[in-house]
Every structure is written in structure tokens, then in C-alpha cells.
């Protein structure tokens, strides 16, 4: 589409967006990099040509209204940083154009241009001037910036005497006090110690409140969910999706990390069933102590599996502080086998975190009659850590331990952290990512012991 023929205001700008101002209008931005080596390509008519260019961005268009908190996500090399650099004007686009209305600040790094020989105070002036603050504005904010940075009397010391953390804190402190209408951020939040990060995040919330607009570039769905309400997914330089933050991040995880909240057993013919059995046999169980089923035909078969949120809806992502559930439907095909399901929970990198055994009181002796069963395993709130979780569903007989079927990564989902009460979601006063597979909330009590 030619940029000129684009309507001046997008159709979706109709209702509520009408009251908000258009602050960013990106029309068909493209970026090509010239390469030293060429690739031979074939066009539609079959002609071959040498391609000397790398297309980093392809016809990217979107609009941002004031108050939007837009996350831009994509994997490494998807073009999101190129886009941010173009919008920050440090790179020129090859095609297309963009309009930014209002005072925009872009932070591709913190503490840009710090001169090691100059004092912290002098560097604050230089850095703030670089981001367009006037001398008067800097004078007014200096005390606040120094206080926020927790640098103390080091502010009169040359920056070369600072620790890395102090330098980052001073840089972020300036950044946090620029108060632009539109803030564009690369993942610069990963600076400073935990307490300082926390302060920065609060400050981010403050400055991106009401009428401020945020454009946040990240490859972490967690960070995007925490800061943004809208998300633009960029892949191979083009916009894949631009929608509500949960919709886009879930779609992203589904495609990029194979997250699937439902499992449906494939329709099988008789021969196929035999093959499955064979392949199930050939695929050796992980532990030698697990015996193969010495019976004819399959004993149990998983039919469906689903991840449900606390409202009983299928969910690819669940909040860390609400309960969720794994619902599995399976067929028991032979009598007196005392079949029961078990869950193997793996984390994002495939490490087995724990195994959940079947402990339903209603079926004390487990399931020993053929038929279709539906189990629901409820996962308490505040148990799993943030991130992706892959669930392997296993159908077993306990004694002797026999694994009848194992569906690797049958379902998966991500646990994310919404904004809210830090105590309730087991975060406490720590702002960093929590290590480990679990993040349970224990019941603490404290008393003063004289």
C-alpha cells in the first residue's frame, strides 16, 4: 500500500480512541541493509537475480494513541531493535515514513555519553541535555535525580570512580526524570540492584500512567505482560500480530515455544494403533525399572488434555496467583489393570521439575474398570514459577510399575505475573526474576524474640 493513500485516521480510531490523541503514526517502514555478499534468488517470473540486501524491516505500519503501553516483541534478529532505532532517529528507514507527535525520548541504553573524567553532576547535565532537557529543567530536577540515584556524595566524584551499578543507577535516574510524552525503551530495565530495579519499575508505572505513552521492546513475554496492554509481534521484519497483550503473547508462545493448552489424540485406524503400540515399545522408558506392559493391545489411551484457568476456560497462560488445572480425559481399555494418570512437569528448558502422582480419594484403588474417565488435577495458586511449563501425561499402573502410555509435552502453558499485590503473588519486595522452578508462597509468621 502506498503510504500516501493511507487514510488519515484509521477506522479503528472510531470510538474511544477518538478522545485520545494519535501520538505515533508509522506507515510502511522498511529497512534494507547492504551486504557484502550476495544471495541468488528467483523472482515470480523465474528470473534469477543477485540480492545484495538484507531486509531487516518490511512494510511495518501501526498507530499508537496517547496512553497506550505498547510492547514490541519478537525473537533475536526479528527487527524489533531496528524498528526502535528508526523511531529513535539513529537509523534512517529505506522506505516508508513515521510521524511522532509530542515530546519523545528513546532509551536504547542508559548513561549514554557519560564521560569518565567528569563528575556525576556534570554528566547528569550532559546526559539530560542529550535527551533534550533544557538547562533550567535540569537545574530543577537535579536534586531529585541525585536523590533517586542513591549516589549520595559520590555525585561530585568523577564517574570513572563509580562501580558499574552506580553508573547504571545514575544513568537510569536521569532517564527516569526526563518525563517525555512518549517513552521508547529497549530492555534497559535490567540495571542496578534489586531494590533499585523495584524503584525504577514503580517510577515506570508513575511516568507511564495517565497520558504517557510507552513503547517497550523486549523478547520476554513476562516483561511485556507486566508493562504493556498492547503488543506488536514482529517476525522477519514484518508485523505478525498487533492486538491486546495477552492475545499476542499467547500466540507468540504458541508458535515460538510450541505452547499448546490442549491435546487431542490423533484419530487412528487399527493398523495405526498397532504402530503406536510398537513405537511405544521401541521408545524405551526412561528408567529400566519400569516394566513394559506384557498384555495384548493398549491398556489405556489419553484422549484429550487441557489446561484450564480458575474460571474453567482453556488457557495458554495463567496468572501466578490464581489456581489452574490440568484436565485429562482417557480411555481404559482393559479390565483390572488399575490404571492411573500421572503428570511430569518440565520447565522451559526441558528439565523435569517434579512428578505428580494420582491421589484422588474417590478412586482409592485407582481406575480398574474399562471406560472413559475425566480427571482434573488442580494446581494451587502460587506454586509454579513464572515461565513456560510443559506437562507430560503418563498412564501407569502402580504395582508392578508399568507405563502404558506417555504423551510427551501433551499440554503446555505459561505462568505469568500480572501487576498487583506483591505479597499476594509471593514476590515480596524483590523485583528480580525468581530463580528455580517453583515460586510457592509460604505462610510466614514472625514474632520478636527477646
Amino acid at each position: 500500500m502506498m503510504p500516501d493513500t493511507l487514510p488519515h485516521s484509521a477506522p479503528e480510531a472510531a470510538d474511544d480512541k477518538d478522545e485520545r490523541k494519535l501520538v505515533m503514526d508509522v506507515r510502511g517502514l522498511s529497512k534494507r541493509y547492504k551486504m557484502t555478499s550476495a544471495v541468488t534468488r528467483t523472482d515470480k517470473d523465474g528470473h534469477t537475480y543477485k540480492d545484495h540486501y538484507y531486509q531487516a524491516l518490511k512494510d511495518v505500519s501501526f498507530k499508537v494513541w496517547s496512553g497506550d503501553r505498547v510492547g514490541i516483541m519478537g525473537h533475536n534478529g526479528a527487527g524489533k531493535s531496528t524498528l526502535l532505532k528508526i523511531l529513535s532517529r539513529v537509523l534512517n528507514p529505506s522506505e516508508g515514513e513515521a510521524f511522532i507527535y509530542g515530546r519523545a525520548t528513546s532509551l536504547l541504553e542508559v548513561g549514554t555519553g557519560f564521560n569518565p573524567k567528569m563528575t556525576g553532576r556534570q554528566n547528569v547535565y550532559l546526559n539530560a541535555a542529550l535527551h533534550g532537557l533544557t538547562r533550567k529543567e535540569i537545574d530543577q530536577r537535579l536534586d531529585e535525580i541525585v536523590a533517586f540515584s542513591e549516589i549520595g556524595r559520590f555525585i561530585e566524584e568523577p564517574v570513572e570512580n563509580y562501580s558499574t551499578g552506580m553508573r547504571a543507577r545514575l544513568g537510569f535516574s536521569v532517564a527516569a526524570h526526563l518525563d517525555p510524552d512518549i517513552l521508547m525503551l529497549d530492555e534497559v530495565l535490567s540495571v542496578g540492584d534489586a531494590a533499585f530495579q523495584k524503584k525504577c519499575l514503580q517510577r515506570m508505572d508513575e511516568i507511564t500512567g495517565h497520558d504517557r505513552t510507552l513503547l517497550f521492546v523486549s523478547h520476554s513475554t513476562g516483561a511485556i505482560r507486566r508493562f504493556c496492554d498492547r503488543c506488536i509481534w514482529i517476525d522477519h521484519g514484518a508485523v505478525v500480530m498487533d492486538d491486546d497483550v495477552m492475545t499476542v503473547t499467547e500466540a507468540y508462545e504458541a508458535q515460538m515455544m510450541n505452547v499448546a493448552a490442549t491435546y487431542q489424540a490423533p484419530e487412528k485406524s487399527e493398523t495405526a494403533k498397532d504402530e503406536t503400540k510398537k513405537s511405544a515399545k521401541s521408545a524405551k522408558p526412561e528408567k529400566a525399572s519400569v516394566l513394559e506392559a506384557e498384555v495384548d493391545g493398549p491398556v489405556a489411551e489419553l484422549v484429550t488434555a487441557r489446561v484450564l484457568d480458575d474460571a474453567g476456560q482453556i488457557a495458554r497462560s495463567v496468572k501466578i496467583d490464581t489456581p489452574s488445572a490440568i484436565e485429562i480425559v482417557f480411555d481404559v481399555l482393559q479390565a483390572d489393570m488399575r490404571v492411573e494418570p500421572a503428570l511430569h512437569v518440565k520447565n522451559e528448558i526441558g528439565d523435569l521439575m517434579f512428578v505428580v502422582a494420582f491421589t484422588d480419594d474417590e478412586y482409592p484403588g485407582a481406575i480398574n474398570k474399562p471406560g472413559r474417565y475425566k480427571c482434573c488435577a488442580r494446581i494451587p495458586s502460587n506454586l509454579l514459577n513464572e515461565g513456560l511449563h510443559y506437562i507430560t501425561v503418563v498412564m501407569v499402573t502402580a504395582d508392578p510399575l508399568t507405563r502404558h502410555q506417555s504423551v510427551e509435552n501433551a499440554v503446555s502453558f505459561s505462568v505469568y505475573e500480572p501487576q498487583g499485590d506483591d505479597i499476594a503473588r509471593a514476590r515480596g519486595r524483590y523485583s528480580r526474576n525468581f530463580p528455580g522452578g517453583l515460586r510457592p508462597r509460604f505462610d510466614w509468621s514472625t514474632e520478636r524474640d527477646k
Binding site: 485516521s9 539513529v90 534512517n92 522506505e95 513515521a98 550532559l126 533534550g132 538547562r135 510524552d181
Partner: protein, 278 residues
């Protein structure tokens, strides 16, 4: 569309909407320019405190050696004032000018850490390098004047001519610096040419000798070396016996403007793909 007209609008497109020559943009970034000049002065002093006096110490040492050689050879180099003063003043201004040229040519690369992260008009870098050198003019002139008064060479009202002469000197350094900063973006090897040219210039310009000793044929075209007007101008302004050659200075000014215009146009072309090149 409800776009407030009182708010700043940034228009991003492949062609830079305003060239690098935009005075409005430089004005909009005046706070940053002031901070950059400030930074250049401070960081130079903080990095090497001796650089405050080095502007006349180095010429003094070199002058000592050259005066001795000239004394041994009894060569006539055409100076109307004592030769030590002639060569000392020449070297002082020459080295300052040469440093300005080479530093402004390298300024884009020096500031690339900033310009890859934050937008600002690229032209601010060479401007800040040149503008931060006003301090040196005062220090060097003070040293030269002290020496000339010690030798009994009087000052005259011609010293007022320092203002236009120094302006031409700065503009010339800026023009050549900007031109080469653009050429550096094409290829870094261009720095070799500049360094050699500046080194050669020391011997081709009236630093060590007066232009009066040159053959007449050469004298006619000698003004085409833009440093001739600047150096005779500087000496004429400071030393009463010497005269400012206004024709020569005029030619220098025209050449300086020429370099500046060509340099800015080339840099404007190069600025488009700047971030990819640095």
C-alpha cells in the same frame, strides 16, 4: 485527525527532511551543543592537565631547535621581527589549527557511541570540537604577547584584527574537518591523507619562513594556500611591524567557506547511512 499543532512533530523518512545545514535544528539543540563544548574543554583538561600550557610549550621546544639550526646556517627567512618570535608564533598557531582540523575530522567517530544511541544533529560534534578551542587562542596569545613584550615588540590597535583572523582560522579548520569527517565515513583510510597533508602544510605554509623570500612566480599563487592569509593575519594583528594582508585573508575566507560548503554537502549525503557506517 486531532493532532495538536503546538506539539513538536518528528517526521521520519528515508530522505532527511532538513539538511545538515539546518540552523533551526542547531538552535533547537543549543543546550546540548553548550554541554558538548563544556565536555570537550573539561575532559581535555581533566585527561591531561598539561594540555593547558602544552599549546605553547611544544612550539617553544621546537622553536628552540629550529632557531639553532637557522643560526648555524645563517639562512635569511625573511622575518621582519626577531626570528625566535616569528617561528614561535607561527608554530603555536599552526599546531592549534592542525589539532582542530584533525580532531574535528575524527569527531563523528569519537561521538559515535552517543550518536548510535541518541539522535542529535551530527554537525554538533565538529562544531563542539572547534568551538571548545577558543580557550587555547587566549592562552597561546597571552604567551606570545608576553614573549613579544619581553623582546620589546609593541602591540598596536591592529590586535582588533585578531577577531576576523581567528574567525577565518576556525572556519577553515571547521570546513576541512567536516569535509574529512565525511570522507572518514567513506573510508577510515582517508585519515592518512589528512594527517600527511597537515604535516606537509607545516612546511608549505609561512610558519618557518616569511612569504617574502619566495620567488615572485610562486608568491602570486601562494595565497591559494589558505593558511597564508591566516598566519600573516595573526602576526600582523599581534606584532606592530607586521601587517595584516587583507587580500590574502579574504582569499583564505573564501576558501574556508568553500571547504565548509562542500564538507557540509558531503556530510549531509553521508549522514543518511551514518549509523551503519560508523
Amino acid at each position: 485527525m486531532s493532532t495538536p499543532s503546538n506539539q513538536p512533530v518528528i517526521h521520519i523518512r528515508p530522505q532527511r527532511p532538513v539538511g545538515i545545514l539546518s540552523l533551526t535544528e542547531i538552535w533547537n539543540f543549543r543546550v546540548l551543543l553548550a554541554q558538548m563544548i563544556n565536555r570537550n574543554i573539561r575532559s581535555r583538561i581533566l585527561n591531561s592537565p598539561i594540555s593547558i600550557v602544552w599549546g605553547f610549550i611544544r612550539p617553544a621546544i621546537m622553536a628552540l631547535a629550529l632557531v639553532y639550526i637557522r643560526h648555524m646556517s645563517a639562512a635569511n627567512l625573511g622575518a621582519q621581527i626577531p626570528y625566535p618570535l616569528f617561528i614561535f608564533s607561527g608554530l603555536c598557531f599552526w599546531f592549534l589549527w592542525a589539532e582542530m582540523v584533525i580532531q574535528s575530522a575524527g569527531s563523528l567517530r569519537l561521538d559515535s557511541g552517543i550518536s548510535k544511541k541518541v539522535y542529535f544533529p551530527l554537525i554538533l560534534s565538529p562544531i563542539a570540537v572547534i568551538a571548545s578551542r577558543w580557550v587555547d587562542i587566549f592562552i597561546i596569545s597571552a604567551a606570545i604577547i608576553a614573549y613579544q613584550l619581553y623582546l620589546g615588540i609593541p602591540l598596536s590597535w591592529d590586535i582588533v584584527a585578531m577577531v576576523p583572523v581567528v574567525l577565518v582560522m576556525f572556519l577553515l579548520a571547521f570546513g576541512i574537518g567536516v569535509l574529512f569527517s565525511a570522507l572518514y565515513l567513506i573510508h577510515q583510510d582517508n585519515s592518512k591523507f589528512l594527517e600527511t597533508a597537515v604535516y606537509l602544510g607545516l612546511f608549505l605554509s609561512p610558519v618557518l619562513f616569511s612569504k617574502e623570500i619566495l620567488p615572485e612566480v610562486i608568491q602570486t599563487y601562494y595565497n591559494l594556500n589558505p593558511m597564508v592569509g591566516v598566519l600573516t593575519g595573526l602576526r600582523g594583528a599581534l606584532f606592530a611591524p607586521e601587517q595584516v594582508d587583507w587580500t590574502s585573508l579574504g582569499v583564505s575566507a573564501i576558501i574556508a567557506v568553500g571547504f565548509t560548503v562542500v564538507g557540509l554537502l558531503l556530510l549531509d549525503r553521508m549522514a543518511k547511512g551514518y549509523a551503519e557506517r560508523v
